[in-house]
Amino acid sequence: MTELALQHYLGVGAILFVIGLIGFMTRRNLIVMFLCTELMFQGVAINLIAFGRYHQNLAGQAFTVFVLVIAAAEASLALGLVVLLFRQKNTLDADAWRELRG
């Protein structure tokens, strides 16, 4: 195990993804939650690049560029929304927003 092989990259990708998923489900701070979805997307990006290298084609890298763009778009939307929410309730706690239920 001296050389880096496909499974090492996949391992890092999976670890990033799982950390993001667990963080998303356990944390209640809005910014941290959106940060965790970013982590998940970065795990996907590492996966795709590793597979692209493994299969010797460019589809994986092309996909990664788009995944990064999508993650950035989602982050910009989310942070804009967080600013809007913070102005209204002065808190970043996701549990403060529970008027709609039933």
Partner: protein, 531 residues
């Protein structure tokens, strides 16, 4: 890495024939640009933007009819297809969004902050563009882009009323759920790419065919599960439905109506396309993979319908009620999608896969008008009285007979009662499920029980409108909105009378590109490479 110079050396320039098949999308893009430029020429741009969007949508709808189904199949090197199913969906979607814009004029337009119009219509048309692309994808990359193009504007639309607390909360819940499910979906798709080394779904060497030759594996199931998570979020299948009632309640009413049909329909059409590719590549034989997929989708549909209907019982808010009703209807349609991946029908001469696609398309067409009508009436009443509570609909039969009648028509149709087209749609569902036999009889039973359950909460609204009395003043709805509601009710009756031709039309359009639906085993097994 010998593909790099090839990719750089040959820039891909699509010719006119390639672009022509996507004229509706190009019209939508043109409309987005026009809407963004409108405020430079008009002082008060809100209404003007509405008209520009309307013209763009009409042009796109006309181009759907003019271009029609394109026989050449795949486009842009296999990224997209323009096949009968996608054309049918685009026609429905554009008609529906035209209805939404008309609804906007009669409900939210007067209260919208002057200057917000361009943004609103840019987002609305952008989401529409994404939803029409979702029906044409045959590549995983295009699939992700289309889903996100539909999702991101929807998040903003849900919270468009910036000063409205409920709107902000709706947007928050929507984007939290959406970001998590879409990252799970993309992770699964990266696994699919890793397993088979291609992003193409259809065609020789595509994912579907490689899955057919190599059979199932744990990783493949993980990928399929995550794809269902991502699309289940768009369809609002249980257990990914939590956003749906909250978003519908918090968003302004035309946005709720838009999401209730367009988002779900696009997700269903995309799910149908992927499942159909898998099934046809395996020649519709009852392989373990297909059987498990069929059971998975059928059970998901049954649970979705049951949860939607039981949760609708206790709702006091008309938008939440319609949200749960839309979850239930998504469940019925998911049950039919499970037939797509099922082997040959009990009757050997029946093309079950095409029949299932036809049933879903017909259901979507009917569902569109029922929901548009119901939401329009709710929006008109909200505009005149400022209430969304069902209890405040008391005496509506006297206060506004026309609105009460239109809402009753749409609700009866949602139950599936005879004078309206919802009846035919429901009968189609039962009929298709019965053709398959075996344990699909359980689904027939579940949907039957669900229909009876749904009768209660739909009819409760009608009972409040006609039997409960109130001394509130009569309501004079906005004529444009009233027109939309009346047209919807009339179309529901018309579609019952003319269900034969419309059903045949749906059948005519129920074919996917690159998918052999009509011959089940003979030709397909011979075309597969020898082991």
């Amino acid at each position: 890495m010998n593909t790099l110079p090839v990719a750089i050396g040959l820039p891909y320039v699509p010719d006119w024939g390639q672009l022509r098949a996507f004229a509706p999308e190009l019209w939508l893009i043109a409309a987005i640009v026009a809407v963004l430029l409108t405020p430079f020429f008009v002082k008060k741009p809100n209404a003007a933007c509405g008209w520009v969007a309307l013209v763009g949508l009409l042009a796109a709808l006309v181009s759907v009819f003019v271009v029609g189904v394109d026989g050449t199949g795949e486009h842009f090197r296999g990224l997209m297809v323009a096949d009968p199913v996608s054309v049918f969906w685009k026609g429905l979607l554009l008609m529906f969004v035209i209805g939404i814009v008309l609804m906007w004029f009669s409900t939210t337009a007067p209260t919208m902050h002057q200057g917000d119009g361009p943004e609103f219509f840019t987002l609305l048309l952008g989401a529409t563009l994404g939803m029409s692309l979702m029906a044409s994808t045959s590549n995983l990359l295009m699939l992700v882009i289309a889903v996100e193009l539909a999702s991101l504007p929807s998040y903003v639309l849900a919270g468009f009323r910036k000063t409205h607390l409920a709107g902000a909360e709706a947007s928050l819940k929507y984007i939290l759920f959406g970001a998590a499910t879409s990252s799970i979906m993309v992770y699964g798709l990266s696994m699919l790419y890793g397993l088979y080394g291609t992003l193409q779904i259809d065609g020789p060497g595509g994912l579907a065919q490689q899955i057919a030759t190599s059979g199932g594996s744990a990783l493949l199931w993980m990928a399929i599960f995550s794809l269902i998570v991502g699309l289940g979020f768009k369809i609002s299948a249980v257990p990914f439905h939590f956003w749906c009632p909250d978003v519908f309640e918090g968003a302004s009413i035309e946005v709720s109506a838009f999401l209730s049909v367009a988002s779900k329909g696009a997700g269903l059409v995309l799910l149908m396309r992927v499942m159909m590719s898998f099934a046809s590549a395996q020649a519709y034989e009852s392989t373990p993979l297909l059987n498990h997929l069929a059971v998975l989708l059928g059970v998901l549909g049954a649970i979705t319908a049951t949860v939607g209907n039981t949760a609708a019982f206790v709702q006091r808010n008309i938008k939440r009620l319609l949200a749960y009703s839309s979850i239930a209807h998504a469940g019925y349609m998911l049950c039919i999608v499970s037939l797509l991946v099922r082997g040959p029908a009990v009757k050997a001469d029946l093309d079950l896969a095409s029949t299932a696609a036809q049933v879903v398309l017909f259901y979507l067409a009917v569902y569109l008008f029922m929901n548009l009508g119901a939401f329009t009436v709710a929006g008109l009443i909200e505009r005149e009285t400022g209430t969304e509570r069902i209890a405040d609909y008391a005496g509506m039969g006297r206060r506004s007979p026309l609105m009460a009648f239109c809402l009753s028509a749409c609700l009866f149709s949602l139950v599936g009662l005879p004078p309206f087209a919802g009846f035919v749609a429901k009968v189609n569902v039962f009929w298709a499920l019965m053709q398959n036999g075996s344990w699909w009889w359980w689904l027939v039973g579940v949907i039957g029980v669900n229909t009876v359950l749904s009768l209660y909460y739909y009819v409760r609204v009608i009972k409040v409108m006609y039997l409960d009395d109130s001394s509130s003043a009569p309501i004079w709805p906005h004529p444009l909105g009233a027109g939309v509601a009346v047209v919807c009710a009339a179309i529901l009756v018309f579609m019952l009378i003319a269900f034969g031709p419309i059903n045949r039309l749906a059948g005519h359009y129920s074919h996917f590109y690159g998918v052999d639906q009509t011959t089940f085993t003979a030709e397909f097994s011979s075309s597969q490479p020898p082991p």
